[in-house]
Amino acid sequence: MVSDQLSAGVSSAPATAPPGVPAPVARRRPRPRRRGGSLAAPYLLLVLPVGLVCLALGYPMVRQFVMSFQEFGLAQQFGRPPEWVGFQNYATVLGDPYFWVVTARSVAFCAFCALVTMGIGIALALLLQKLSTVPRILLQVALVLAWAMPPLAALTVYTWLVEPRYGLVNWLLTSAGLESFRGYSWLAGSPWTFFLIAAITVIWTSVPLVTLSTYAALNQVDEAILEAAELDGAAGWQRLRQVVLPIIQPVVLLLLMLEIIWDLKVFTQIKVLQAGAGNNRETNLLGTYVYETGIGGGDYGIASALATVMLVLVLVLTWRYMRTLMKQGDL
């Protein structure tokens, strides 16, 4: 009952604690959580953070859900009350072949970026382990710089690098004898080259987080375990697959999940690169499509339905990883 006495000093309502509960709880847990004090304390601590998150995210989410069942266009912005239309917005969205094109495009773009990012990221983390001090620090600093680079600054540099007439990329390619790249516009020329540049900018920014987190996790792998595996005759690849990967798996899964979410909702890169392309319809992904429909076109009802579908898509794609993660952590 030590913890009871200790918290009694600050407890505002010690009598509200169920008698006999605190001590066993404290003994069962590896880290004693004091429960004898005010039962209200944790809730009071949570008022501000929960309130703010509800205001910034919860309320808009509910509103958006409601709006997705309403006719909410330009007329409603000028004060006409929105009309309930049931699932009509969803029917419009799902019945539009262009929506499916954009969705398929987004999923493909996301899968490509997430997989390439994870692959390069983990490979670089393993590489970091093999290096001498100076090259290791050089690579780490380069990655950290790319990570911290404001996306807009990065995007302007990439746009400048692939600028048709004076850009470095076209100059290098034409100097190498590829005359067809003289004055070639990577962004406006074809959706394929547009998405290639977009994918490079996304991967360039995302790899550092994967590499540095995986590297930090790798350093937590006990040397003794690796040596034991080596003595037991496990080859390099086996050690990696059967010893190292299971240990860093929680971190890798978390990163993969984050990458999927980030790459599926990608907006900034596409929006900025579109300004240099001018072929929005062929290059829209879900994020820019929602923007175009809502903020651009003023059709908030349809845009809300679109955004809700996008949210559901993210949840479906990440649900399994979330469950694994929750089971692994001591939540």
């Binding site: 880290r31 205001l55 910034a56 710089l145 807009l152 003595l231 908030y300 993210v314």
Partner: protein, 294 residues
Amino acid sequence: MAATEPALFAPPTHADTRSARNRHKHWWNVLAVALAALWAFPIYWMINSALMPAERLRSTPPLLAPLEPTLRSFGEILGDSLFWRSLGFSAAVTGLAVAISLVSAVLAAVALSRFTFFGRRGALVAVLVVQMIPAEALFISQYRMLDGWGLLGSVPGLSLLYVGLIVPFTVWMLKGFVDGVPVELEEAAMMDGCSRFGAFFRVTFPLLGPGLVATGVFGFLVAWNEFTLAYVVLASGDRLTLPVWLRTFSSNLQETDWAGVMAGSTLVAVPVLIVFVLVQNAMTKGMVAGAVKG
């Protein structure tokens, strides 16, 4: 005895792989330096272009190094009042968002780390799930919300949206740091007569220093670099954050001023890069701690 057999022969093979490893190590190092150069190249190119006279940028072949560097592009930007107004707006939004986020995140992290209560598990799951909500799926309704409150294009409006972005992740990170401080330290202080509140503030809070710096920097980066929400919320007004200001260079009908936009990008990026390099170690550790410990 099959298991011990390789061990008997291990010493020679072991030595062999060692020397092979050392020979390989040389090539790994070369590869790493090449990759580092490749990864940092866009940043180098940004600074290189910013230091060149605008007319030299339109020459072929491109100059790979600023042989005759000039600060003219920087001078033009520093003389532009829109840059200074955007800098002020960015600083105000970022400062407010980070301050509010840190206070709320500390409160939440303490509640989740130091107390058992009904709904704790649910709250932890919520912290995770909320991070999965893409801002891009909510900006339509966030735009309508701020519009309704007359907060479009204002510091508190944008800050509120940034708090929503920052708080869940900082709670997750800070909880890892609070978990790392043994509760016994607080209990010892309380034995010596500290109140529970006092024990936390005198014992645990000072030990959270690195965690607060790491989460603070994380929040700073998110708010300072953020583009999507700023672009949506500020679209119609004349008050811009720096990332949105960078867009004004290419939205004109005339040809893009590449030297100017590169100098602008450099001015936006360099402070961030310096801060980040200084503290990234603590940040990666915090992130991993959160992931591993749950």
